[in-house]
C-alpha cells in the first residue's frame, strides 16, 4: 500500500554550516517502527539526489519516536555564502515529507495508516 510520509510524520529542520538537519517525528507512536524501517539512509539519500552534494547520516531517537537526518552539502555553501532562498535549510524538512512509502498491506492496515490518494 502506498502511504505518504506527510500523513505519518511531522518534521523540523535547521542548519549547521552547509549541512541541513531533518528531524522526522511520527504522528503516532505505533507508526514509528514502520517509519524507522522505511526511512533508511539510502532511501533518503536517493530522495534528495540532485539536491545535496554530500553524504546522508541517520540517527534514531526511539524515546521521541523520531529520526534525525544530516544532509551534508545541502545548502549551497550554507550560512552567508549560500545564494539559496532557504540558505538555512529551514524548510528542507518539508521536502522529505514528499516521500511516498510502500508499506506491506497488512502492516499498514494493522497500524491504521491512511492510504495515499490515487
Amino acid at each position: 500500500m502506498k502511504v505518504r510520509l506527510v500523513d505519518l510524520a511531522h518534521t523540523r529542520s535547521g542548519d549547521k554550516g552547509d549541512t541541513a538537519n531533518v528531524g522526522v517525528i511520527a504522528l503516532r507512536p505505533e507508526w514509528y517502527p514502520v517509519i524507522s524501517a522505511q526511512l533508511t539512509r539510502e532511501r533518503v539519500a536517493a530522495h534528495f539526489k540532485g539536491m545535496i552534494d554530500g553524504d546522508v547520516e541517520r540517527f534514531e531517537l526511539p524515546n521521541l519516536n523520531a529520526l534525525n537526518f544530516l544532509l551534508h552539502g545541502a545548502l549551497d555553501g550554507g550560512g552567508t555564502l549560500s545564494l539559496k532562498t532557504d540558505a538555512q535549510g529551514k524548510v528542507y524538512s518539508t521536502a522529505l515529507l514528499r516521500m511516498v512509502l510502500d508499506v506491506p498491506d497488512a502492516e499498514a492496515k494493522a497500524a491504521g495508516m491512511p492510504e495515499a490518494p490515487r
Partner: protein
C-alpha cells in the same frame, strides 16, 4: 514544597518579538528571564559596529527589553541572563547602568559582566603558539584566512554566569556564551549542581535547547496540527520549571496563545540537531536519545530521564572572516506562460553576463513558486501557474563584477520577455560575505572573567 525554579525565554534571536520579555515577567511569576541574542554571524556584525564606534558592539534591542522589565528586576527580584554583550559586554553593562540611572533605580541594580570569550586580540599569539584553529569542516588552518578575520569568539559555558549570580548580580551580560548555558547556569546556581553532575547539567542544557529559540517550542513555527494552534497573535513564550533532580516542565503563562504539547516540544528538540548521542557543550556532553517527554496537563510537558557525560577538553570557537561579495535580485513574471517567460529571462541574463566576461564563483537561479524550496522534488509547475518569481544570485571575489551584475537585472524589464513586474525595490544590493569558520581550541587557553558592577 520542594524548590522549583522558573526560567522564562524572552528572546530567541536578535530581532525576535519586542513584546516577549515584558510579557514573560508580567504574565505570571518567574525567577529568571533568559534572552538569547546571538547567532553565528551576529558577532561579526557587532564587530563591524564596534570598529566604527568603540562604545558599540552589543545587541541594542537589549536596552529596550531591560527598560520593559526593569521594575520586575528591581522590585520583584526577577533576574535576567542575556548574551546581549556581543563583542562588547562592558559597554552593554554601561548602557544598562545608564538606563538604571535614567529610571532612578541605579542604587537597586547589580550587573554582572562576563568577558574573556573574545579571542580576536589574541589570534596571532594563539597561532604562533601552535593553536592552528583549523576549520572543523575542511581541516584548513586559520592562517589561510587570517588577514580576513573579523571576529573570533570562544563559546563559553555556565561557570562564569554562576559566579556572577553568586556575587549578587541581578542582570548577567555575557558575550559568546552558548545559548544553552544561559538557561542551565541559573539552575546550576540555584540547586548547587556540581560541575561534574553530568546528568543534571545535561538536563539544564536540554532545557536551554528547548527555550533558546523562543516560541519555537510553544506553537511558533510548529508543523504539527498547525491549523489548530490557538491565538498565535498572543503567543505565550516557553518557561522551564525545573526541580533539583534535573527534571523540568515546559509551560507558558495562562491566557496566552500558542500551544505546548509533546509534538511542539519534540519539534524544537530536533531543531538544528547533529549527532543526538553527542551534543557537545563546554559544560557537559548531553545525550538527546535519553530524553523522555510526557504530557503534564494542558500546555505542560514534562521532560525527564536525561543523561550526560563528561565534557571535552576543547571549546568551540566561532570565527567570522570576509569571503567575497554577493548579490541576489528578483523579477516577477505573470500568466500566461509565466514559467517559460521566467526561464527565458534567466537564459537572456546569463548570456549577457557571459558576454561581459564577468567572473563569478557561483550563479544560482531559483523560480520562487516553483522550485526554490523543494528543487526538482516539486516537479513541473502547472501550465496555468498565475505567476513566478525569477530569483538569481551571484557570488564573486570581485566587487566590481557583482556590482555590474546588479545593473543587468533591471534592463530586462524593457528589453527581456514580457509580463514582468516586481522591480520596485530597485537594483539588488551588493553584500560583503562574512563567512563562518568553526574551530576548536584547548579549554586551558580561555579564561572567562566576571565583574559585578553597581
Amino acid at each position: 514544597m520542594t524548590k522549583k525554579i522558573r526560567v522564562a525565554s524572552g528572546q530567541g534571536f536578535w530581532g525576535d518579538w519586542l513584546e516577549a520579555p515584558r510579557r514573560q515577567v508580567e504574565g505570571g511569576p518567574v525567577d529568571y528571564l533568559m534572552l538569547d541574542y546571538l547567532a553565528e554571524v551576529t558577532m561579526s556584525i557587532l564587530q563591524k559596529q564596534k570598529e566604527r564606534d568603540p562604545n558599540m558592539g552589543y545587541a541594542r534591542d537589549f536596552i529596550g527589553a531591560m527598560e520593559s522589565v526593569m521594575t520586575a528586576v528591581t522590585e520583584r527580584g526577577v533576574k535576567v541572563i542575556a548574551n546581549a554583550g556581543g563583542v562588547n559586554p562592558p559597554a552593554c553593562a554601561d548602557a544598562i547602568l545608564a538606563l538604571a540611572d535614567k529610571l532612578g533605580v541605579r542604587g537597586k541594580l547589580k550587573v554582572g559582566v562576563v568577558t574573556g570569550d573574545d579571542l580576536l586580540p589574541r589570534l596571532d599569539e594563539l597561532i604562533a603558539s601552535g593553536h592552528a584553529l583549523s576549520n572543523m569542516d575542511t581541516g584548513e588552518p586559520l592562517s589561510t584566512v587570517r588577514d580576513r578575520v573579523l571576529s573570533a569568539n570562544a563559546y563559553i559555558g555556565s561557570t562564569p554566569i554562576v559566579q556572577a549570580l553568586s556575587q549578587g548580580a541581578q542582570v548577567v551580560i555575557t558575550g559568546r556564551s552558548t545559548d544553552t548555558a544561559l538557561t542551565m547556569a541559573p539552575l546550576r546556581y540555584e540547586f548547587g549542581w556540581k560541575a561534574d553532575d553530568w546528568n543534571r547539567l545535561a538536563a539544564g542544557i536540554i532545557a536551554g535547547h528547548i527555550l533558546e529559540c523562543g516560541a519555537q517550542s510553544s506553537g511558533g513555527n510548529c508543523l504539527y496540527d498547525w491549523q489548530n494552534i490557538p491565538d498565535l497573535a498572543d503567543v505565550g513564550y516557553p518557561i522551564a520549571e525545573a526541580s533539583e533532580d534535573g527534571t523540568f516542565v515546559i509551560y507558558k503563562h495562562p491566557n496566552t496563545g500558542g500551544r505546548i504539547n509533546v509534538p511542539s516540544v519534540t519539534e524544537q528538540l530536533v531543531y538544528e540537531m547533529g549527532d543526538p548521542h553527542t551534543y557537545i557543550t563546554p559544560d557537559v556532553v548531553a545525550d538527546f536519545t535519553s530524553i523522555r517527554v510526557s504530557t503534564d496537563g494542558e500546555n505542560r510537558v514534562k521532560v525527564h530521564g536525561i543523561v550526560g557525560r563528561e565534557a571535552t577538553d576543547k571549546l568551540k570557537v566561532s570565527i567570522a572572516y570576509r569571503s567575497g561579495f554577493k548579490a541576489v535580485g528578483t523579477l516577477v513574471y505573470s500568466w500566461p506562460d509565466a514559467m517559460p517567460k521566467a526561464e527565458l529571462a534567466d537564459r537572456v541574463l546569463r548570456e549577457r553576463l557571459e558576454r561581459l566576461g564577468l567572473k563569478f564563483d557561483h550563479i544560482l537561479t531559483e523560480f520562487v513558486g516553483v522550485n526554490s524550496t523543494h528543487g526538482p522534488l516539486a516537479g513541473s509547475p502547472a501550465r496555468d501557474i498565475p505567476e513566478v518569481q525569477f530569483r538569481i544570485g551571484v557570488r564573486s571575489n570581485s566587487r566590481t563584477d557583482v556590482e555590474r551584475f546588479t545593473r543587468e537585472l533591471a534592463p530586462l524589464v524593457l528589453n527581456g520577455p514580457p509580463s514582468v513586474t516586481g522591480f520596485a525595490g530597485g537594483r539588488p544590493k551588493v553584500e560583503e560575505i562574512v563567512a563562518y569558520w568553526p574551530a576548536l581550541v584547548d579549554k586551558t587557553v580561555v579564561t572567562p572573567q566576571v565583574e559585578v558592577r553597581s
